[in-house]
Structure formats: C-alpha cells, structure tokens
C-alpha cells in the first residue's frame, strides 16, 4: 500500500488505554455477585491513511476525539493495540528501540505548550544540542555549536541568547525554540500537536509563517494536529476530521472547506466564528459528546446527528471514496439520502 512518494502510512490503527486501576478498583457488586470489570478508553479506532512527501496533513477534531493519541502513536510514543505503521515503506510499530533510532531522528514532534515542553533547568544551547549529540555521538563540539546558532537564526531567535533559560523568553519565542529543537536533527517529517493553540493571534501568525517557511526551505512534511479550523484551512493540503476516535472524513483542504460531506464536518465548519458574520449561524447538533469509554454502537456520531436512521445505530460506517476524491464514513451519504 506504500508507494515511493508516501512518507507515512497507517493501516487500521487502534489505541486503547486501560484506566481500570488496581484490582480493588475493578471489583464491583452487580446483582449480588462480585464482578471484575476492566475500563478502557477507546481513543483511536481503526484509522487508516497515508501522508505523501511534502504535504501538510491535518487532523482536526474537538477535545477528546483522539487526535493527539493518534499523533503520538504514529511517532512511536505509544504502542498501538493493533494495526500497522509504515515509514517510507518499512514497518516501524513494534520495532526495538535500537532499530527505531534512525527513524526517530527523521520524525520529530512539536508540542502545544511551550511552557511545559522545554526543560526549565537547561539553557537554550543545552536543549538544542542534546538531540544532535544523541543521534550523532561522534560530532565535534564546535560543529554542534555552529549548528545551534544556525538553527536559532533560522527560527528567528538571536543566537546571542543561547545561554539563557526558557523562563527568560515569551511564549512565542519558546515555541520558536521548540521548533528549533525539532529542526536540529534535520528531520523529514514533523508532527506538530496544536503548536499555535496557546499563542495570541499576532504571535500565532509569526509561528505559522515560520512553520510554512521551514516547510519550503527544508522540504518538510507535516502532520498537523489542531482544533482550529481557520489554521487548518490556511496551511493544510489534506485534512482528516476525527470524531470519538474515528476518521469521519478525509479530503483535500479545498474540498473539505468548499464542499464538506459528513454531517459532523458540516456542523464543525458552521460553528467557527467568522469575521463579518453578524450572527452565529451554526448547524445545531443534538445531545452531548459520548465518552470514549462507552462508545455508542454503530456510527459513533449517530446520537448527535440529525440525519441518523436505524442502520446508523447498528452498523459502523467505513470510509468510502466519493468521485471528488473525498473519503467519508457515513451511511446516509452511501445510501444517497444526504
């Protein structure tokens, strides 16, 4: 399923978390009998897609939909329950840490909170040189130093400040340093998990520009995780929409924003507040978001969908390709009633 141009391919990936705690937490009385019950959070369920070289693939969804878990599973921070992950054609899930090493250098991650993701007791210099030295033990100290100032320059932080600590920088500058840390090992693929969500509008624009610039100059491929649809529209080439651990729509950014298909995508797009609109004009949804502990049967979205029918409550829809190239998981669309 992987062609030469695909950088990452994921196949039927599933990630669950056991949150049942110790033995005593798992025991409960039901109908007069002692029962042991496990509780699992079904964060990611059966997701497949590929990311092509040079594209910016975004995953959008609301909090708790499993988008961050998906990103972390792909990059190898969590082992998946089942499914396959390929990087440039070789399977990387289940690899030993030693075998994984070269892949770790080419896949890097940027996190949301620039206050929590930098070690407060390390200077910028120390933070930035650590990954380089780790991946290339024989590199000379002067070369590392050169590299640090080169990358700092690229992300717009004055190399003079390399001896400073994270608390001496503003949020935007810290995010630049996080980006610099990811760029230090010259990766090909970067997973950015909500990289601008914690930043103010004027700083957000600076960081987005920096990320786009790095993409052009270094030929990077991004996987971008965010809940902010206007950011997604601006920087993505393709977008996957997630709801409760499932991928409900997968489309080119243009198709997704111009002709959304899935009822959830439609509701999500109309809910974004728009400049110049004088009233919130969202498509209302029914009810509440269910928890990923008790996933609803059938389509996970049926409880909030205004178009749901009997089949939606029983059968899980699969992602089907439409003529436009958009993939959508919805019985209503498949049956032609939506």
């Amino acid at each position: 399923m992987t062609t030469g141009k695909d950088i990452v391919a994921v196949k039927n990936i599933v990630k669950h978390f056991d949150i049942s705690g110790g033995l005593l937490d798992q025991l409960s009385f039901t109908n007069g009998r002692l029962v042991r019950k496990k509780t699992t959070v079904k964060a990611v369920n059966n997701i497949s897609f590929t990311i092509t070289q040079g594209e910016t693939f975004s995953i959008v969804g609301e909090s708790g939909c499993g988008k961050s878990t998906l990103a972390r599973t792909i990059i190898g921070l969590y082992p998946p329950e089942s499914g396959e992950i390929y990087y440039r054609g070789s399977r990387i899930d289940g690899m030993t840490p030693a075998d994984m090493l070269p892949y770790r250098a080419s896949m890097q991650m940027i996190f949301q909170d620039p206050y929590a993701s930098l070690n407060p007791r390390k200077t910028v210099q120390q933070t930035l040189e650590e990954p380089v030295v780790f991946h290339n033990k024989s590199i000379s100290a002067s070369l590392v130093k050169e590299k640090v100032s080169e990358v700092m320059e690229q992300v717009g932080v004055d190399p003079k400040w390399s001896t400073r600590y994270p608390h001496e920088f503003s949020g935007g500058q810290r995010q630049r340093i996080s980006i610099a840390r990811a760029l230090m090992v010259d990766p090909e693929f970067i997973v950015a998990d909500e990289p601008v969500s914690a930043l103010d509008v004027s700083i957000q624009a600076q960081i987005l520009n920096l990320l786009m610039e790095a993409r052009e100059k270094r030929g990077l491929t991004y996987m971008f995780i965010t809940h902010d649809l206007s950011v997604v529209e601006h920087i993505s080439t393709r977008v996957g929409v997630m709801y409760l651990g499932m991928l409900c729509e997968l489309a080119s950014a243009e198709n997704l924003f111009n002709s959304p298909q899935h009822p959830y995508t439609k509701a999500l797009l109309t809910a974004i507040p728009k400049l110049g609109r004088s009233k919130p004009g969202h498509l209302p949804l029914k009810g509440e978001v269910p928890t990923p502990v008790d996933l609803p049967e059938g389509c996970v979205f049926h409880g909030r969908c205004i178009h749901s029918e009997a089949r939606c409550t029983k059968e899980i829809p699969v992602l089907r390709l439409l003529d436009s190239g958009t993939g959508v998981a919805c019985h209503g669309i498949e049956e032609g009633r939506l």
């Binding site: 509008v201 004027s202 624009a205 974004i272 507040p273 728009k274 919130p280 969202h282």
Partner: protein, 329 residues
C-alpha cells in the same frame, strides 16, 4: 441621554514592592440598555482587569487609581461594601472562563442557585427553587427538575457553562459581564453558548460586556467593540466598522494576522515583536515599537482616543489624528 453604564478614565494600578504598575490606563466607554459590547485584545491587554474594576473586584495589591464607573447614574466606586453587594451579582452579573472553577464541586447546583437567590431576593426557599428551575429551563438544560439535584461533575463542560449562565440570570441583571465564557469549550459548544447569550440579551433587553481574545466571536455577537492594547483602548466603535474597516494600525495588524483573512497557503501578515509587559512599557504610544507606520511623535506622547472623520469610530493614534487635522486645514 443617560447611559446604562459609563466607564470614565478608569485606571487600575498594582502596587508592588518594586513600584507601581498600571494595568489599565484611562479606559472609557459606555454601554446602553440591551447593548452588546465587546472588549477584545491579546492576553495581558487589560480586558479582564477592566471587567473586574467595573464591579469593584480589584483585590490588593491592585487598586482603582483613578476614574469613575457610573451605573444607572450611581457612582459605583464610592459605594460602601454593603451597597456594592446589592449591585454585584444582582444588577450586574459576571460569567467566568472556566465553569469548573466557578461552581462549587461539593454542593449540588440547586443549592448554589438557591443560595444566590436568597442573597438578593426576599423569597421562600420553595419559591427560590421554582425560579432556579425556570432559569435552568431558560438555558435549555434538559429535565431541569432532576438536574437541579446534581453536582457539577455530573455535567459536561458546555452544560456547566449553561448553569453558570443560569446562575447569572437568577436575579434578572441589567448587565452581564462575560469574561472569555467559551474559551475552554469546543467550537460546536461555543456556538451553542454564544447563540444562547445572544438570545437572552435580546429577549430580556440585557446589556452584555463580552471579554474575549477571539475576533470572530465578538464580530458575531456584539454591536460595538473596544480593542485594547497594553492597558489602553486603542480603538472603539461599531463592530461592523471596526472589523471591516479598522483604523488603528494594531487593529489592522490583528485582523490581517488571522489565518482566515488570507488566501490559504500564503504567508500571513504578522505583527513583529510582542506586546510589552507592564514593567517594560515603552514611552509614548505603547504600540510604536511594533508599528510599521510610526512617526517621531509616537515615541514621545501617548495618543488620546479621538473621533476619526465622521465615522463613529474613535482611535488613539497620532497618525490618524494628524491626518484628521491636516485634512481639516
């Protein structure tokens, strides 16, 4: 014409060991009955401090260093604690960002609602319960009688914020101050809460001061907005005019920096630098170090809010007022 609320040259200062820091400076605006007014700006601009100062909730080491707040022609900052209590939470209610922090986790929402009513109204407990249930219905909580007896953790984030709004409505206030009411919520829930707030303001002719960093939200909900930067209002006027045709360079920069304002894939227009902190406030106009059109004057004097043309917009910018006087000459 008398205004429902008039904020005049309001300043709040924090007295710290190393000196006095002005959090907001010379803030003035008015609110009419039933009007929806937005206070926008980035973090640290002084939006929340302004909200707190209106209901006299600035705690030490902060104090109101100058200016007045007039509500129904009463001067709020000269009232006694007792008199202020009769207005705060009664005639002027406030909604905060995080509904989990605002609600008491160990009391049922019913208890918390009755408590609020009994503090402000002479009614029996039974009557208070009826009022509370009616308000829960008003904010579209399903089966309010059953929900009334539940604890905050039994509700989702969006539902909790509805309950907080219901509590704010209990005393039928004339003004609701909502400080980032949907920042902690997902967009689909945010849209529901904003629609609800809008509907309540219209049906009850209630004034709303919406404090937010989200230009999209204010643009949809409010009729007039004030843009704040480094503790001062830099531009104020009708929402349509300010959003469609901003005058102040900061407002322009902010709107142009939004990802939705440009063709996808192109570089965004960024404002260089960051907002100054209270300790490092530059002389003159606080925006001048980041401003692309600054002139000498900007480094020397703080610009005052002035009407721009005959457009019903006021902006604080030397360049704009300079242009105005030039064209008048």
């Amino acid at each position: 014409m008398s205004h429902l609320l008039e904020v005049k040259n309001l300043s709040v200062t924090f007295a710290l060991r190393f000196g006095e820091l002005a959090a907001i400076n010379d803030v003035s605006f008015t609110l009419q009955r039933g009007e929806r007014f937005g206070l926008v700006g980035e973090s640290g601009a002084g939006k929340s401090v302004t909200g707190f100062a209106i209901i006299n909730l600035i705690s030490k080491p902060g104090y109101i260093a100058g200016g007045r707040v007039l509500f129904e022609n009463k001067e709020l900052n000269s009232l006694s604690t007792e008199e202020m209590r009769r207005i705060r939470g009664n005639r002027i209610s406030m909604i905060f960002q995080d509904p989990m922090m605002t609600l008491n986790p160990v009391l049922t929402i019913g208890t918390q609602m009755i408590e609020t009513i009994l503090a402000h109204k002479k009614v029996t407990k039974k009557q208070a319960e009826e009022i509370a249930i009616e308000k829960l219905e008003r904010v579209h909580i399903p089966s309010p009688r059953k929900r009334f007896k539940q604890y905050p953790h039994e509700f989702s984030g969006g539902m909790r914020q509805r309950i907080v709004i219901a509590i704010a409505l209990l005393t039928d206030p004339a003004i609701i101050i909502a400080d980032e009411p949907t920042t902690a919520l997902d967009v689909t829930i945010q849209a529901e809460i904003m629609t609800l707030l809008l509907e309540l303001c219209e049906s009850k002719n209630m004034g709303l001061i919406l404090i937010t960093h989200d230009l999209g939200v204010v643009s949809e909900v409010t009729e007039r907005i004030a843009v704040m930067y480094a503790g001062r209002i830099v531009e104020v006027g009708s929402t349509r005019l300010v959003i469609d045709n901003p005058e102040h360079p900061y407002t322009k920069g902010l709107i142009n920096a939004l990802p939705g304002s440009q063709r996808p894939g192109t570089m965004l227009n960024q404002i260089p630098g960051v907002m100054p902190t209270l300790t490092g406030m530059p002389p003159g106009c606080a925006f001048h170090p980041r401003c692309s059109v600054r002139v000498q004057e900007c480094k020397r004097n703080v610009p005052q809010l002035m009407p721009i043309g005959n457009k019903n917009i006021m902006a604080a910018c030397h360049l704009l007022t300079g242009k105005r006087t030039n064209s008048e000459q």
